[in-house]
């Protein structure tokens, strides 16, 4: 009867495999960034394994680069409304440039409402092509660790802000709902799960702050929730972790 590979052995083999195979990727060299293209088709279509679009993009980028005589150093000056921009040569044009650098006027496409490649907040592994802007991503706002305890093991404590469109992913109400006097957020605190994994949700107008913990007591998580302060108009939060925890 064969003996099963231990978890540690599996993790070790996986790390070594990924490290070795990452060596299959040769360095890309020192090319300048080949991105500046006035053709919106070149910037908004999904990735494809075929090569023609990449070649078109490179050709377009090369053309722009030739015009500005400084391929890597090109400034984009936004005009009113962000719809039209003038691609200008950079202040420091290489002295060896032999091509005059006339300014080009082109149209910069406004950020698309849906972009299949952009980070999106709702289950990108399972949802549709519903890319949203980065402001709608869940954001990790704070993480804490205990000195001497390896992070990401069985003990964890961190806070994540889920913007409003992502609230569908957050339970409408936790296992318990507790009105906690003294909390900055006047709303209730929802708690979900039992020790050792407890989530506490603080609801704001524009989203929810989730305090996620493992092997931290219910009272400690609630106590930390009471210390949460949000700088008005921002997504900046401060909070005081339980004794023995430090920001990581």
């Amino acid at each position: 009867m064969s003996e099963q590979v231990t978890l540690a052995e599996a993790e070790d083999r996986l790390r070594r495999t990924l490290a070795r195979r990452s060596g299959d990727v040769p360095p890309a060299g020192d090319d300048p960034v080949p991105l500046l293209s006035p053709d919106p088709d070149l910037t908004l279509v999904p990735a494809s394994p075929s090569g023609p679009r990449r070649r078109r993009r490179l050709v377009a980028a090369a053309a722009v680069a030739a015009c500005v005589a400084g391929a890597a150093a090109v400034g984009v000056a936004r005009a009113g409304g962000g719809e039209t921009a003038e691609i200008m040569p950079a202040d420091e044009v290489p002295a060896t440039a032999t091509v005059p650098a006339p300014p080009l006027t082109t149209t910069v496409p406004a950020p698309p409402v849906t972009d299949p490649g952009a980070p999106r907040p709702v289950q990108p592994l399972e949802g549709g092509e519903n890319g949203l802007d980065p402001g709608l991503l869940p954001t990790l706002v704070a993480g804490f660790e205990q000195p001497g305890v390896a992070p990401n093991q069985e003990i964890w404590l961190y806070a994540t802000f889920y913007p409003k469109p992502d609230m569908a992913d957050v339970p409408a109400q936790g296992d318990t709902r507790e009105a906690v006097a003294g909390a900055e957020v006047p709303a209730d605190l929802d708690t979900a799960g039992d020790y050792p994994a407890i989530n506490v949700w603080l609801r704001y107008e524009d989203g929810v702050l989730g305090l996620h913990s493992g092997m931290v007591s219910h009272d400690e998580v609630l106590a930390m929730a009471l210390t949460v302060h949000r700088t008005p108009g921002t997504r900046d939060f401060t909070m005081t972790p339980p004794p023995g925890w430090e920001p990581r």
């Binding site: 064969s2 003996e3 099963q4 590979v5 231990t6 978890l7 599996a10 083999r13 996986l14 070594r16 495999t17 990924l18 070795r20 195979r21 990452s22 299959d24 990727v25 890309a28 020192d30 960034v33 991105l35 293209s37 910037t43 990735a47 494809s48 394994p49 990449r54 993009r57 890597a72 150093a73 000056a77 936004r78 950079a90 910069v108 972009d115 299949p116 490649g117 952009a118 980070p119 999106r120 907040p121 709702v122 289950q123 990108p124 592994l125 092509e129 802007d133 402001g135 991503l137 869940p138 954001t139 990790l140 706002v141 993480g143 990401n152 961190y158 992502d166 992913d169 996620h212 997504r235």
Partner: protein
């Protein structure tokens, strides 16, 4: 704010994009390769990620993190769309041979479901903690954790001689 927070808009700074491209490109190409198994696809995806970042650069607080999320999403999207994703490029010519268990593990990785492969690469190649993996994948930390456990369990089972 660590992931893609929006700040006050400033002018797009092309030297900044160029610096970012030079500093992040190879790391992202390796990540995309480990997720797709195809070198040329990895190049395409990293290219697209930078193209998508360009018009938003001024408003993205953490461009490297934004790029990583974009690359992961593009890799997952590509694998969903393309049956080719189940095949791999021919092994590159090189002067050394990998131990058999490396080849075997690479094959096992290629056969895993997309979400499980993604979480393994982010955890064991990028060395991200669960919270960061969840943020990259846009899922709950508990979801990321369970995917990781399922993927490891599957690997262990397949690795068993």
């Amino acid at each position: 704010v660590i992931y893609g927070g929006v700040t006050a808009e400033t002018n797009v700074d092309s030297p900044e994009l160029d610096r970012l491209y030079r500093s992040e490109r190879d790391r992202l190409r390796r990540l995309a390769y480990l997720m797709t198994g195809h070198l040329h696809v990895a190049d395409e995806i990293v290219h697209d990620a930078f193209v998508r970042l360009q018009p938003r650069l001024a408003g993205v607080a953490a461009p490297p993190a934004y790029l990583r999320v974009t690359v992961v999403n593009l890799c997952l999207g590509w694998r969903r769309r393309t049956a080719m994703a189940r095949e791999r490029d021919p092994r590159p010519d090189r002067a050394w041979a990998d131990p058999p268990e490396i080849d075997e593990t690479w094959d096992l990785l290629a056969r895993l479901p997309d979400d499980q492969r993604a979480v393994l690469v982010l955890r064991f190649y990028e060395d991200l903690p669960i919270a960061d993996i969840a943020a990259v994948l846009g899922c709950r930390p508990s979801t990321a954790r369970s995917r990781l456990h399922r993927a490891l369990a599957k690997l262990r089972k397949e690795m068993t001689p």
